[in-house]
Subunit: 567 residues, 2 copies
């Protein structure tokens, strides 16, 4: 009889337990969870705080009782593993209810400890108004602070998933919110110019977004009003109340009523380090493709491990639910004699930011540049479905690829509709090893309410393939502000658009539909830098000019990409 | 200078003209279109009739003037090609405005004539209340009939895309509607049990859907009221008014005020047959992967041609906008010296049916059975996004695959959210040659508003792979009504569900969470046929039983598939 002990009962651990039981009725399966909850919906926490998910109970997907009834798994909450003895194949477990300890032996140990919020050593953070958000008790404390203190201002530090979701939650509750981000962009899986769409949306909703701004110090100013026990106020109530004076890296001061620290997470590896299991260069638990650690009886999955990056094969930390769940299932397979191998992580991710979705898969440009990879990129901005059918929204899409082989490196998208779909298409194509040339042939669902006869993805592939074949010579948004005297900027939109939407200083305006007649106005000894709103008419103009012997380049993604890169 | 003459100015023809011009400024490009419109949104016609697309002008994507200005293409509407002389490389063109004729020579001829609605030889159809819907004038006539006659009842014959969209259009206008379909299902690209979701939705909205019912005869009963010219009524008005008495194959009679014939389309091949170009076994124009007909100077694209089926390589007729557009672009490439090859058609399609979307890609089960292909299938019914986040809808998904190799044959989906996305994922995976085992590893966008940590697709892949590995023994919905005495039907849902949702007659009920305790109640000498609501708990029960030495099978897709197969 195989005995499997699982440390951590959320995504990866819970998946492993359920799968292990389906494979074997005889196995003894124990989940040791130091928290009070197993298998809760950690991705849903911010939405319950904001009130979108109204019932707290919806976040509790399984209980120890339900796990026992369905899967005959012995779930022990408030049981913390404090030590692993890999030679004896035992773990030391501390009952958090009474502090007593016991030893549990195992045939296989599965570590699914997750990752903990990083709280930097900023002075003054240890106060009752400062929170992180990882689990149900964290969520409960934040809700309690909101309900008791009725904050009039909230501050969120960090523009990642949790930071963005928490800023939106406060906004939904009617609490004016400041979002601080040390980098020059939120949502770092995307590149700066794509994050611009998020910045515009966040500011449009009234969030006080401050980029390149860190928190330097916090000071807790308790509210001096003495709690009135007659009025039913408790001591605890009194202690919670107060304000925070924040000092920012900009030198600005900010007074706030609640502070969320959401700058990122770090793998929980204390146990494994102590046990002498190997960790990787990024500080996560090292595993092989079977999810096995350096001790063959010990497996590890989820946010605590280093995955292999799908594109580069290099170690990467990807604290996301999808990989964790699939890894858990796979670890169970392998502990019970199967031979499943993990196929690498693309890091496919999406975040809802008010009405906007922003998503990515594969490598971004920052990473490619850092790795010294030769790449090309295209941007398209195309309707989420047929423009003539109501409700179409612009999908702003970026595709990164190898200009020689056409290999897909990654993609990013932002918009109000159909973002998940487009990134999913690329996530599949990339995993399947398709090239951008093959993306031209994709045959995606089309009816006016759902897509276009030439979908966003087909169009991006056409542009990419044009570049690869030399049918298009691109120029990118970040080069436009640095043109030389040998270049002439040509805006081929209609004059009305320049007036309504804006234009780039110094551009000559000849609408594309007048270009054949007015081409002679353009110099042949200069390189014509063409732009339009999104790049499509620019390409038509480009083809006319080069077919008439001009030197030209077309701004990929057009004025729209240029503008949002600055947002 | 290359001279390209294009016959037909909608999807394929218009795409070809624009692409040809981008490749060459010198080419002479002429579009000959016998209708009054080019490049109109034919997929949008039903939505304008129903009022969802309010402005007719939105359907007119390009005009001859706009084509000339942007692409320097000579667009001649109301010019019908009546004859092709492939030896002389000329076409005879008739000006429909005055009946005069002229000859136009070409270097390359591109045929994009489309497909015409099939109107069967049913007696009495030639009357002013009977319509087909292919183009703008057809749409205008239908709208005119509705506006002038104010029909109190409409009948649509044919449950394909146009028939379904027209039934919805009439419903939106408040006109009680009967939908007749000769087959036992609408939306034939899907299989019968998936079409059940459409049937339920159509009937739920109050459409009088009659399956296995054909139209046998129609009789036009003109309204005898004499038009009052004093009241501004015209002669034409008088002629339009009246009723239709329909005789159905069921023997039933039906009186209706407007009749739409939408049973399908047939390639327009009169020109090519006459010119001696080859047609294929299905009656479409035969082309090679370069889109070339049997005459190397003549190309053909779109609804009129026979495509190569992506899965089987066999000829197929796929009258859809996506392939037409891409083929047009490709034909232009090849006429101008490129070497692009068409990669086959999967027939990816989607239809909005009121609040439901139903979609498919690749082969369906009917086709696989007809071809004698060995296949297996799975059904899953899973939330479109995390169930705990508001707005999740059930995605009902069917995957067809080779049980030996795992090759993806096709997929179908129905539901109110995320249907296009799931079929797109499979369309990409199938085109890339992925197996169902590889689908397990897909890393799709996940955040609670958009998906699940284990997406519908991952789950379907898990079920399929379980079957392939022998970890699951499936039984399908169509076998449940024919169980033998050696089989015992076991419902593992909770008693409340049986009461609320219904159950299959003769089933024993043991909830999955009680199964371990009550397993002894089940006979070991019979095969236990397990079912639950969607198949997931059934699998848990199945694994328990077989791991305890029982013979068992699990109903794939559960009670939900079983029920909707009868809808």
């Amino acid at each position: 009889m195989t005995k499997i002990v699982i440390v951590g009962g959320v995504a990866g651990g819970a998946s492993a337990a359920a799968r292990a039981r389906r494979l074997s009725e005889e196995a003894e399966i124990i989940i040791l969870e130091r928290g009070n909850f197993v298998s809760f919906a950690n991705c849903g926490l911010p939405y319950h705080i904001g009130g979108e998910i109204q019932e707290r109970s919806k976040l509790l997907l399984q209980t120890p009782d339900s796990f026992l009834a369905r899967f005959n798994v012995d779930v022990r909450v408030m049981n913390e593993v404090t030590h692993i003895d890999k030679t004896a194949k035992t773990v030391t477990v501390k009952r958090l209810t009474d502090g007593s300890e016991y030893t549990e032996n195992y045939d296989f140990l599965l570590l699914s400890p997750g990752a903990a919020p990083v709280v930097p050593p900023i002075p003054g953070l240890d106060n009752p108004l400062t929170h992180t958000l990882r689990n149900i008790p964290d969520m409960d404390k934040i809700i309690q602070t909101i309900q008791m203190n009725k904050p009039e201002h909230a501050t969120v530090v960090g523009g990642g998933f949790i930071g963005l979701e928490m800023a939106e939650a406060f906004h939904r509750l009617g609490i004016p919110t400041t979002l601080l981000e040390m980098a020059d962009q939120v949502m770092t899986p995307t590149d700066r110019e794509m994050a611009g769409f998020a910045h515009a949306e966040i500011r449009h909703k009234g969030i006080d977004l401050r980029l390149k701004t860190a928190l330097s110090a916090a000071e807790f100013i308790p509210n001096m009003t003495v709690a009135s026990e007659d009025a039913g106020q408790s001591d605890q109530h009194q202690h919670l109340e107060g304000k925070l004076n924040l000092t920012l890296s900009s030198g600005d001061l900010l007074t706030t009523d609640i502070l969320i620290m959401a700058i990122g997470v770090r793998p929980e590896t204390r146990l494994v380090t102590e046990a002498g299991l190997e960790t990787g260069p990024l500080g996560g638990i090292q595993v092989n493709p079977s999810m096995q650690t350096s001790d063959p009886s010990i497996y590890a999955v989820g946010d605590a491990i280093e995955d292999a990056d799908f594109v580069t094969g290099q170690p990467t930390l990807v604290p996301l639910a999808g990989p964790a769940n699939r890894q858990g299932r796979m670890a169970a397979d392998n502990m019970l004699g199967r031979n499943e191998t993990y196929q690498g992580t693309q890091g496919t991710a999406i975040c809802k930011i008010f009405d906007l979705a922003i998503a990515s898969t594969g490598k971004n440009e920052k990473q490619l540049r850092r790795d010294g990879t030769v790449y090309e990129k295209v941007f398209v901005h195309t309707a989420s479905h047929a423009g003539y059918y109501p409700g179409a929204e612009i999908v702003s899409f970026k595709l990164l690829f190898d200009p020689q082989s056409g290999q897909i490196f990654g993609a990013q998208a932002a918009g109000k509709d159909g973002i998940d779909k487009r990134i999913d298409v690329i996530a599949v194509a990339q995993r399947a090893g398709m090239t951008v040339a093959q993306l031209q042939h994709l045959e995606l669902t089309y009816a006016p309410p759902y897509g276009s006869a030439k979908d966003v993805i087909n169009q991006a592939a056409f542009v990419a393939t044009n570049i690869m074949k030399g049918d298009a010579t691109p120029i990118h948004f970040d080069e436009i502000d640095h043109l030389s005297d040998n270049q002439l900027l040509l805006d081929v939109r209609n004059p009305g658009e320049l007036e309504n939407v804006g234009y780039i200083e110094g551009a000559v305006n000849i609408p594309v539909d007048e270009l054949r007649q007015r081409m002679h106005e353009l110099p042949k000894d200069k390189e014509i830098i063409i732009y339009c709103q999104v790049g499509l008419r620019g390409n038509v103009a480009y083809r006319q000019l080069v077919n008439h012997g001009y030197k030209a380049r077309n701004l990929i993604g057009g004025y729209r990409t240029y503008c949002f890169a600055k947002a």
